[in-house]
């Protein structure tokens, strides 16, 4: 056990910082990532291309797909620096962190040839078609139906809470292909072009931001059968494998630390509750280390230890603690749109819900880390 970054990783961190400094506009705010405007999407594509040009975009990918098998630690360093400035990769962080790895692991050669190069170039937006009106935390209850008809699937149903759907070119879509078997056994993944006839995207107005979330309706959408990812009815395995990548990849603690720094330095010299700020920063550091533990588990080949859920909970609680302490410091000013604590509200509110709710994570921790009996 030791906690030092190697000289190579320290050099990498400096390199990421210099690329960020060179390509991030001066008026970039850490809350920007939550605003999925067309302008932002355009910016993130340009930014991701700059990362790609500097070998900072997909170094963790296998060499055959344009990466160099960089370690998970390298991926973590890059993720920390980018999340620290508000994740200027925008929606594309999903592409490299879990959509592409899922395609590499489960895709056909044709799918790899078609989907991976644009992701590797930082030039494509994906959305994830997971939640439905009656399938939220209980994702396996999803009902969007895909019926095989010769060499196509006919898709009907509705997704909800879909971020980036209004600008996405493709959707990583979960569908039910067999309603007659236990629910986790009848799910498949389709890689769907979002410009197909019969797909309708509607914004769900929210308090978070314009176009933060959407509904996506599928009405007799004809999807080529070769868009099936992995085997038919094995989509649950594909998805859980993919989500494990996502839950580790989000370095919320780094952004929280920097947001608190920024807010606190503006409050100088009179802080209302120094202890609460200090506790938030300590929680953030704990979340950082617990994320490293999950990464180490993955490197060392330990499965289902619960560490992925533990770091997810720690990060979400850090977001909430930061919101509470920043709001307290700001007083009434925290009500002002896009103040530090208002921006923190936008980050913190979904953090205990997206990617698996806090309660789902607690269930997993109870079983996997604590060995508590199942609730039957």
């Amino acid at each position: 056990m030791e906690f030092d970054w190697s000289p190579e990783l320290m050099e990498l961190r400096e390199r990421v910082r210099s690329v960020i400094a060179a390509h991030l506009p001066g008026d970039w705010a850490s809350s920007n990532r939550n605003v999925a405007t067309t302008e932002l999407v355009h910016f993130t594509k340009e930014f991701c291309k700059a990362l790609a040009a500097n070998d900072l975009w997909v170094p963790h990918w296998p060499t055959e797909f344009g990466g160099r098998n960089a370690s998970l630690w390298e991926q973590a360093v890059i993720g920390e620096e980018l999340w620290g400035v508000g994740e200027p990769r925008g929606p594309q962080y999903m592409n490299t962190n879990w959509i592409a790895p899922a395609i590499m692991e489960f895709g056909t050669q044709q799918q790899k040839d078609r989907y991976l190069p644009p992701i590797a170039a930082g030039d494509v937006i994906w959305c994830q078609g997971f939640s439905e009106p009656d399938a939220g935390s209980d994702l396996a209850s999803l009902r969007t139906q895909a019926i095989r008809d010769s060499d196509v699937y006919i898709v009907n149903g509705q997704k909800i809470w879909t971020s980036y759907a209004h600008v996405a070119e493709h959707c990583f879509l979960l569908v039910r292909t067999n309603p007659a078997v236990p629910k986790r056994q009848g799910i498949s993944v389709l890689l769907v072009d979002m410009d197909l006839l019969g797909i309708e995207v509607r914004e769900v107005p929210s308090i978070l931001a314009d176009h933060a979330v959407h509904e996506v309706f599928f009405s007799d959408v004809v999807v080529p059968a070769d868009c099936l990812l992995g085997d038919e009815n094995h989509g649950w395995h594909v998805t859980t494998t993919a989500l494990a990548h996502e839950r580790i990849g989000v370095a919320r603690y780094e952004r929280v630390s920097r947001v608190v720094d920024e807010a606190v330095s503006e409050q100088e010299p009179a802080l209302t509750d120094e202890a609460a700020i200090g506790t938030t920063l300590a929680m953030s550091e704990a979340a950082r280390l617990l994320t490293y533990v999950a990464i180490q588990d993955q490197i060392s080949g330990r499965e289902a230890t619960g560490s992925v859920s533990i770091q997810k909970v720690a990060k979400a609680l850090t977001e909430r603690a930061a919101l509470t302490s920043l709001a307290r410091e700001a007083g009434q000013e925290h009500l002002v749109y896009e103040s530090h604590s208002d921006a923190q509200l936008v980050a913190a509110l979904p953090s205990t819900i997206t990617g698996g709710t806090l309660e789902v994570q607690y269930d997993l921790i109870a079983r996997r880390s604590l060995g508590l009996p199942r609730s039957n």
Partner: protein, 315 residues
């Protein structure tokens, strides 16, 4: 970065676990027998050289010392291992007589003060090295796990060391309380989990109920964070930041862990026979051992602010 134990660390911890398990069977027979076994474990640790595990300037040894203390705090050993094997050697004393107790000022309450041959007293920017003859030690009756006593300095001020030694003591002490608290929290959670897994109510194990699971899962996240921060702080004990962060997090986590484990086990948690108090009633002592429990969190804010200001000035 490698968070897995290396072979040397594994070997050392295995040996320490063996020593800490000496006389496990006969332990609960009588208080005298327990005390004899406790002394035997302490002596064996001492003879095996584990009280000298820390090598000044070698942070691998700081981490090893913390891993040892984590292990010992989760065992039935009741002895000032951390003060003796971590804090006193780290401070850089040329010589001292073990065991060591730590006190946060004249008139403060300290653990193991009656048993100690050396007392390190931290007073703002000064560290006093006191022997038993320099102090009056009055035992305190309390419900907590540790033997406590009030320490008053007699006429001699002992050996007085300056601000650098005081700062070193403060950092090491923060690492120590963080380590002992996380170990106590994790031990309490382990015991609570074992209990609720076997305790059947409403025709099912209590531990299968989500209300119980979620409290324990939440406690586990907090305690796991404290554990890794303590280890991280050991690695960087020469810096102010990590020890303050580790102490702050452990103290911030302690109340909710205490509440959760006692709540889920119910009334049996009040009993001495069940033993939960061994871990939970250590927490109130450790929280205030260095004085104001909020002081660590305040230190974190000030340290961070100072470093972010420096960063901004340098950028």
């Amino acid at each position: 970065m490698d968070l897995d134990l290396n072979l040397e660390q594994q070997d050392v911890l295995e040996t320490i676990k063996r020593i800490l398990s000496i006389g496990e069977e006969g332990e609960s027979e009588s208080p005298e027998e327990s005390e004899r076994v406790n002394d035997q474990r302490w002596q064996t640790l001492q003879e095996a050289g584990f009280l000298n595990i820390l090598e000044p300037g070698v942070r691998e040894s700081y981490l090893l010392a913390v891993l040892m203390i984590e292990c010992a705090e989760g065992s039935p050993l009741r002895a000032p291992l951390g003060a003796t094997a971590l804090v006193a050697p780290y401070v850089g004393l040329d010589h001292f007589e073990a065991p060591v107790a730590l006190a946060s000022g004249d008139g403060s309450i300290a653990r193991y003060a009656e048993q100690a041959n050396t007392i390190l007293m931290l007073e703002s920017n000064e560290l006093r090295v006191l022997s038993q003859k320099d102090v009056q030690v009055d035992p305190i009756t309390s419900r907590t796990t540790y033997p406590l006593a009030r320490v008053r300095v007699r006429t001699s001020r002992g050996r007085v060391l300056g601000s650098e030694a005081a700062a070193r003591m403060r950092r090491a002490w923060r690492v120590l309380i963080a380590t002992e608290m996380e170990s106590a929290m994790n031990s309490a959670i382990d015991l609570a989990c074992r209990y609720v897994s076997g305790r059947v109510q409403f025709d099912k194990p209590l531990g299968s109920l989500q209300a119980v699971q979620h409290r324990l899962a939440s406690a586990h996240v907090a305690a796991a964070g404290s554990a890794w921060l303590a280890r991280r702080a050991a690695w960087s004990m020469d810096e102010e930041w990590w020890p303050a962060v580790a102490a702050c997090h452990a103290i911030a986590s302690a109340d909710s862990v205490f509440d959760s484990v006692h709540q889920v086990v119910g009334a049996i948690g009040f009993t001495k026979a069940f033993g939960l108090y061994e871990w939970t009633m250590a927490l109130p002592v450790l929280k205030v051992e260095m004085g104001d429990p909020q002081s660590h969190a305040v230190a974190v804010t000030r340290l961070r602010n100072r470093s972010s200001m420096t960063r901004m000035a340098g950028s």
